[in-house]
């Protein structure tokens, strides 16, 4: 295959004609590249992605890929340089892609983004659960549409609105319907008066469920108002979540729905199939936590397969009693006062599984885990003699995690906590 034929094949396979003809898509590609800089700037310093982390049992795998540590190959500081060399290699690719964009070489800029996307997708979805985040899902979806799908403009616009809509599925819970997430915080809601907290939280639910669809409509007052609302919403949410989330979403919001907005006709035909399948996959991921019986805000089962931002305010106390051969039991107690630390039973399970695997002197690890959500009482959701003897099922109910409705013992009451 000569170079011209390869170029033609590449352009037609990934619908690059759309990119060449659209200033909007070029701007979107710049925004997506910017988000890769944000991502890898953190990952280059991330110890939990390294082989040393696996040796120390500090990595975290997805429940559907529990042996992900076997695939790690990078060594991080202070133990080695390969992780830094690898990420500086990605930095070079990002810089090269940015240079190509500046020179108007959009095919090259586009092609250079493939390794960035593939690495990030593998890390977020398969190799590690420790850096999972809603903004990563946004970024991966924007990337995939820009890189590979036909009808790029339409599906970029639709995916952003679809994300807003799906996020409501995580919010229909007292954390948001009553606003107890924020009333449990010592600091309450930022800036807005606490007295009418449910008004603010339900207004966000309304805008994400109904208002967001106006973003896709004709360019009229309603479309403008929806755009302004979401700009303010992201700036406001940045008061809690810092730069990363707004820096990933706001540029796309401006590019797709901002002052230069033009309505995009709904596409039809077989070429829409990849886009719609991706949207269906996102919907399926969001529904898993609802399909698994029990309150997923308490059990956290399936919580991370979809959007989960501010799904509940968590507090927990973990007591682990480690029984070793010929030794007195060792009692370790850990408390979490941070609202956004999810107190995920799976993380407790995974951490102790690594301990049991790496230390042959351990006979068993007894766990008592008390969990409170949204200022409700602490319930003993885990009380088992040996956490290493139980398995964790990724897509169904784990009966060793109890909820208050399944007889979990009420232990006490929480105080107001903090978000930090």
């Amino acid at each position: 295959m000569n170079l011209d034929r390869f170029r033609n094949w590449y352009d037609s396979s990934f619908s690059l004609k759309e990119l060449y003809e659209s200033e909007l898509l070029k701007a979107a590609l710049v925004a997506v590249l910017f988000a890769y800089f944000l991502t890898f700037n953190i990952w280059i310093q991330e110890f939990r992605f390294t082989i040393e982390a696996v040796e120390q049992g500090k990595h975290l795998c997805w429940p559907y890929a529990k042996n992900c540590g076997d695939w790690y190959f990078l060594s991080g500081l202070p133990f080695g340089y390969t992780a830094n060399i690898f990420y500086m290699g990605l930095f070079g690719i990002m810089g090269w892609s940015a240079w190509a964009m500046w020179r108007g070489q959009w095919r090259l800029a586009h092609g250079l983004m493939w390794p960035l996307f593939i690495w990030k997708a593998l890390m977020v979805l398969l190799f590690s659960m420790s850096q999972v985040g809603n903004y990563e899902y946004y970024h991966l979806v924007f990337s995939l549409i820009l890189l590979a799908f036909p009808h790029k403009i339409f599906f970029l616009k639709f995916s952003l609105v679809w994300f807003y809509f799906l996020s409501v599925a995580a919010k229909i819970h007292p954390a948001w319907t009553l606003g107890t997430y924020f009333s449990t915080l010592k600091t309450g809601l930022p800036v807005l008066p606490d007295m009418v907290m449910p008004v603010w939280t339900n207004f966000v639910i309304f805008m994400e469920m109904v208002g967001a669809w106006f973003l896709l409509g004709p360019k009229n007052l309603w479309q403008r108002l929806a755009f302004i609302f979401f700009v303010i919403f992201h700036l406001y949410s940045g008061l809690l979540v810092s730069y990363r989330y707004p820096a990933t979403v706001l540029p796309m919001l401006f590019i797709l729905f901002g002052p230069l907005y033009q309505q995009t006709k709904i596409p039809t035909g077989i070429k829409t199939l990849p886009g719609w399948l991706l949207m269906a996959l996102l919907g399926l991921g969001q529904s898993i936590s609802h399909i698994i019986p029990g309150d997923e805000k308490s059990t956290m089962e399936g919580n991370f397969y979809g959007l989960y931002m501010f799904e509940a305010n968590h507090q927990c106390v973990e007591q682990a009693t480690i029984y070793r051969k010929g030794d007195d039991p060792e009692v370790l107690k850990k408390e979490s006062f941070q609202a956004r630390n999810r107190c995920d039973a799976y993380r407790v399970w995974f951490k102790h599984q690594q301990q049991c695997k790496s230390d042959s002197t351990i006979e068993r690890i007894e766990i008592q885990f008390d969990h409170s959500i949204n200022g409700n009482p602490f319930y003993r959701t885990i009380d088992i003699p040996d956490i290493c003897a139980v398995d964790y099922k990724p897509f169904s109910r784990n009966d060793w995690i109890k909820t208050d409705k399944e007889g979990a013992e009420l232990i006490g009451y929480p105080m107001r906590n903090y978000y930090y």
Partner: protein, 63 residues
């Protein structure tokens, strides 16, 4: 910032437990019904959008 223990064994107003606002206390008994309403709206919105984006364009293609 972290207190000695984050669990208060029993209800004690000194521990600042009564932190729901009057509006939240008023709304709390209706919360389950409100959730049901929201899920209903969510389901209707989803069904309508499926029709608008996946069915209508094929039935009435304006090309």
């Amino acid at each position: 910032m972290m207190p000695e223990s984050i669990i208060v064994p029993s209800f004690d107003p000194n521990y600042d437990l009564a932190y729901l606002t009057p509006l939240q206390l008023f709304l709390a008994p209706y919360e389950v019904w409100w959730e049901l309403c929201l899920w209903t709206v969510f389901a209707f919105a989803l069904a309508f959008k499926i029709y608008q984006y996946l069915i209508y364009p094929y039935l009435y293609d304006t090309e």
